[in-house]
Structures are given as C-alpha cells and as structure tokens.
Symmetry: C2
Subunit: 114 residues, 2 copies
C-alpha cells in the first residue's frame, strides 16, 4: 500500500462492502429478492420459484430480510389466511447492485466456461 490516503480509502471500502454483503450474502437471500422483485409474492409462490428451498429456510431468510428492511410482510385476513411479501424502497434500491451481479455472472460464465 503506497500511502496513508490509500490506507484510509482501503479501510473505508472494506467497511462499506462488509455492510452490503452482510445483507445479501448467503445461499438464498438474492434468489428470494429476485423472486419478490417479479411482483408481490405469497409464501407458497416463492417456494415454487426457488425449487429446493425448504419452508424453514424460507421463513428464516424472509425474517432476516424483513429485519434489514429489504422486504415487507403483509397479512391478509382472508380464508385461509394469506401473506404477501413485497420489496420496500430500500429493497428496490438494490436493483443496480443486483443488475451488476447478474451482468458479471453472465460475463464470468462466458469467460470461464462451466
């Protein structure tokens, strides 16, 4: 590292990227956000979108995303009870990031071949 300015810039970037990754990291967070971004979603609909996710994990990850204010949970007193998950404004603000993740994922696949 060349100098003190670089050192400070480096630590600053380390901190900001850590904050972001804490929210989107894990096997299921991004898949859930993508699924919900296609419109308001019910629990069972998200399960169908993301094959292989168990109800326990889905429930747990939805709670985490709700705590981080990425998605909202709305309960409807219909019969039977239904619940709708939707992106909050903060959740919607993830779009540019997710677009880059997507774009780079395709680039990587082209380059490294799988």
């Amino acid at each position: 590292m060349a100098n003190v300015i670089d050192k400070a810039a480096c630590r600053f970037k380390l901190m900001a990227s850590h904050d972001a990754m804490e929210v989107i990291q894990g096997k299921w967070r991004i898949p859930i956000i993508i699924s919900v971004s296609f419109g308001n979603k019910r629990f069972g609909e998200i399960r169908k979108d993301i094959a292989d996710i168990s109800p326990k994990i889905l429930s747990q990850e939805l709670k985490a995303l709700e705590m981080n204010q990425i998605i909202s949970r709305t309960l409807f007193d219909s019969m039977p009870v239904t619940v709708e998950y939707a992106l909050t404004p903060l959740g919607k603000s993830l779009k540019p990031l997710l677009d880059e993740v997507l774009k780079w994922g395709l680039h990587f696949r082209k380059q490294v071949v799988k």
Copy 2:
C-alpha cells in the same frame, strides 16, 4: 408469477446471480480483491491491510480466487522469495459490481443506522 416468460426470466436471473455469488461470497473474498486492487500485493501486505485474517485463510482464499481466474500469482526468485498477487482482466472486470456493492453499503448504513 404472472406467466411463462417471467418464469424463464426469473430462473435465468437465479442462475447468473448464483454464478457471481459463488465467486465473491464469503467473509474474505471481497476484502482481498479490494486490497489487491490498490496495486500488486505481497502476501504480508495483504495481511496487514486486512487486520484479523489468518495466514491459513488468506492462503486458502487466494488459491480459490486464483482458480476462478480473478487474481494471478507471480513468484520472484529474490532472497527471500517474494510472491506478488495481482488482478487479472477478469478480476478487474469486477470493478462495476464492487462499486455498486460499496455504494449500496453506504446507502444502507445511512438508511438503517448502525
């Protein structure tokens, strides 16, 4: 999910984002990439940048990044032997993604207050 087109688009996004996250996920990948992005780096220099990383983990993560063609490893026959890690073109292509991660991390910190 409204229709067949959405379903296909959703699955496509799920796949691409999964590929990208496989590469950058984990506690240390992004910190290492950021550190190396500040110029070619020796093993000990990266250790100093990222306080708390153990040599075992750094070695292991550098290997993984090298396998994914994100960084290159160059050995110099100096005395004592030195090694330089640098971003490959594929590694450098991560810049827009990392910039968005950073940007969103700052936005999140402002919104959610920590």
